[in-house]
């Protein structure tokens, strides 16, 4: 069975989700739950670090789509970082760079929240 884990941290008041393993139809509910919890506690500044994400499927991508509006309505954003070329290819293939800011590095994404604030 595919393995998927989510680590959570906070950096400068930005919530970092670290994805690890396979984000697919089977594991997508875990990410849904993580987003739901963040939204419930009104935490809208989210950086998803994909360093250890080895695979993402359409259902996994769908989770980002399902929450982005609520997050942005809360004056926040979901930013993506540290993707492997393979994972980036999937994001790119389905047109995600149009809608999401994707960074090479987590700190860049975190800083970006404060660029905007200024």
């Amino acid at each position: 069975m595919s393995e998927f884990k989510i680590g959570q941290r906070e950096v400068e008041n930005v919530n970092i989700l670290e994805l690890k393993g396979y984000l697919d139809a089977h594991t997508a509910p875990k990410l849904e739950e993580a987003f739901q919890n963040l939204l419930k506690s009104q935490r809208f500044r989210i950086v998803v670090n994909c360093r250890d994400l080895s695979y993402i499927s359409s259902a996994g991508l769908g989770v980002f789509m399902a929450f982005i509006e609520d997050v942005r309505n809360g004056k926040g954003d979901i930013k993506l970082t540290n993707m492997s070329p393979k994972v980036y290819n999937v994001f790119d293939l389905l047109g995600f760079p149009l809608l999401y800011e994707i960074f090479k590095d987590e700190q860049e994404a975190v800083t970006r929240f404060f660029d905007r604030a200024k």
């Binding site: 499927s57 989770v63 789509m65």
Partner: protein, 587 residues
């Protein structure tokens, strides 16, 4: 290679060292040009650089490039100095020489396309040829120097054109390769998605999770601005997931949508019925409709709005949508059937328990009535039923026998039967007489049924000392009092069936005297109305025949004879109703 007539050799001789200096300069320029346009795969950049370089070289203020298509037409893709309206225009060009030529020197009667260039103000055309194939043409106009090109200039332009053609072709090929590669990646991604969601769909048995998975997969795959998923729920379509602006579509629209049998772009829908589906869908912001079908039947739809990327939905997209929709519906259907099977099993288990409880309500051991021999049986059909029989011993030495049949079948009938028994047992100790008791039982049953169920009921008090049976028949099948000479009496006195309306007139009470050798037979309509496979009722006439044949036997033998004969009649047909009998033989 043919020399173009339009560019005769330059008449002025050029000094040798000047010529070699110019030649060095030209070589360096060509080299730099080649380096620049080969450094990029961006066609607009390459075309732009080609045009600007040549315009600079021949001192022209206008340039354009038209690229060849498979149908022999050339379409203008970039203009500089020419009006922007020229972009996108097409012209069919026959064979052209591979060198530069002036439009003025060509005869429009021989080459129709010459007219096009003349009208647009193109004076010089430079074909882009690679491997004998013209892949495009460069056109220039508004040259400041009106003189003709020198042979040297033409040669130089040809070099530029050759380098340009190679660079364009290379960019084209690589772009095409990347496009195909991407398409392949997309296909792989789609197949992966179908494989993986299919697997997950069937692993999930919760319809809500299955629908959510379908929703997420669509969201991730298409990034739709709007969407709506509806599924059949009984006769209607029900919206199970959506993101739309404005009002949710209503029944009639959903019903009309259900008639769309193949994936279609909203723009291509042909409106036939009274409801303008296309208009309604455009109003909802939807771009494609994909039916979800199972065994040729419409079971739902996926509606998607424009993609956020603004890309059009391709045929591949529609096929993917169709596949994932069908995968989802198969799994949803399986989950539904599975749930149904479990619920049915649960219900059957519960009915089995109910039947056991009901059996427990019937007397397990019949009391001995002095001077009488009694046998009774209740053979239930598959369902719990509403048949009832009972024997009660009264403190004064008399006995009560009772038989009843609650209308209908299943748990409601069984409940009412239990209720009837409890009522009787509670009321019997009251000294009201059989008629008065029947009236009270009827009143209570009326309150309990609300008038939509009824009970046929017969009961009587047996006094063993006098062998008298005092009875009330409330609409029940008339019992038989069979004499040993084969004649019989029917016990038909009493009143209305129980549970329909409150007792207005008292129930009639009647008494019969039983003699030695008589047989008392009580039964429910499970006996008299037992159905054969040919839908024929068993009937009382046949019952009477069996009774006469068997009357010399014991109570149990008579009862068995009736049961056997009923089975012979119904042979093979499932038992539709409870069969209940009481047989009392008077000694």
């Amino acid at each position: 290679m043919a020399r173009p007539r339009s560019s005769p050799p330059s008449s002025a001789p050029v000094p040798a060292e000047a010529e070699s200096a110019e030649s060095r300069f030209e070589n360096a320029a060509l080299f730099e040009f080649s380096t620049v346009i080969n450094s990029s795969l961006e066609l607009p950049f390459i075309l732009s650089h080609i045009l600007l370089t040549i315009m600079g070289k021949i001192l022209s203020t206008r340039g354009m490039v038209a690229m060849a298509h498979a149908n022999g037409k050339f379409t203008v893709e970039m203009v500089k100095g020419f009006p922007q309206t020229l972009r996108g225009k097409s012209v069919k060009i026959g064979t052209v020489t591979r060198t530069a030529f002036e439009i003025a020197a060509l005869d429009p009667r021989r080459h129709a396309w010459v007219k096009f260039f003349r009208e647009e103000g193109v004076t010089l055309v430079l074909p882009l040829v690679i491997a004998e194939k013209t892949i495009g043409v460069l056109g220039f106009g508004g040259r400041i120097a009106k003189r003709k090109l020198t042979a040297r200039e033409v040669t130089y332009l040809r070099s530029l054109a050759n380098i340009s053609a190679t660079a364009i072709e290379k960019a084209h090929t690589i772009n095409e390769l990347q496009r195909v590669n991407r398409q392949l990646d997309q296909k792989i991604q789609d197949l992966n998605t179908l494989f993986e969601t299919g697997k997950e769909f069937s692993a999930l048995l919760d319809p809500e999770r299955q629908i959510r998975l379908l929703e997420l997969s669509l969201l991730g795959r298409f990034l739709p601005t709007r969407y709506l998923i509806s599924l059949r729920d009984g006769p209607d379509m029900k919206i199970v997931a959506s993101k739309i602006s404005g009002q949710m579509p209503q029944g009639e629209l959903l019903a009309t949508l259900a008639r769309i049998s193949a994936p279609v772009r909203v723009a291509d829908i042909v409106v036939t019925g009274t409801v303008d589906v296309r208009e309604a869908l455009i109003g909802l912001g939807m771009t494609v409709v994909v039916p979800i079908r199972l065994q040729g039947e419409s079971r739902g739809q996926i509606l998607l709005g424009e993609k956020m990327s603004r890309e059009e939905f391709s045929q591949t997209d529609l096929e993917f949508l169709s596949s994932i929709g069908n995968l989802a519906i198969i799994s949803l259907e399986n989950a539904r059937l599975f749930k149904e099977a479990i619920e049915k099993q649960k219900l059957e288990d519960e009915l089995l328990i109910a039947r056991e409880i009901q059996k427990g309500l019937l007397p397990s051991v019949l009391p001995e009535i002095p001077g009488f021999r009694m046998s009774a049986a209740n053979i239930s059909s598959r369902q719990v039923g509403g048949d009832y029989y009972d024997v009660l011993v009264l403190p004064d030495g008399r006995f009560i026998i009772a038989i009843g049949d609650v209308s209908g079948k299943g748990p409601p009938a069984a409940l009412l039967m239990a209720n009837l028994q409890a009522t009787i047992r509670a009321l019997v100790p009251l000294d009201l007489g059989l008629s008065g008791l029947t009236g009270r039982v009827n009143d209570l049953m009326c309150e309990n049924t609300g008038g939509n169920k009824f009970v046929t009921f017969f009961w009587g008090t047996i006094d063993p000392r006098t062998k008298t049976l005092t009875y009330v028949n409330a609409g029940h099948n008339y019992p038989y009092l069979l004499h040993d000479d084969g004649s019989f009496a029917r016990l038909d006195r009493g009143g209305m069936i129980l549970g329909v309306m409150k007792t207005a007139a008292p129930y009639e009470e009647a008494a019969v005297l039983c003699r030695g050798g008589d047989t008392l037979v009580l039964f429910t309509d499970g006996v008299s109305e037992a159905m054969s496979t040919r839908q024929e009722e068993y009937g009382e006439e046949r019952l009477e025949g069996v009774l006469r044949d068997a009357m010399s036997g014991t109570a149990q033998e008579i009862l068995d004879a009736i049961h056997r004969d009923v089975l012979v009649h119904t042979q093979g047909a499932p038992q539709s109703d409870d069969i209940t009998m009481m047989v009392l033989k008077i000694l």
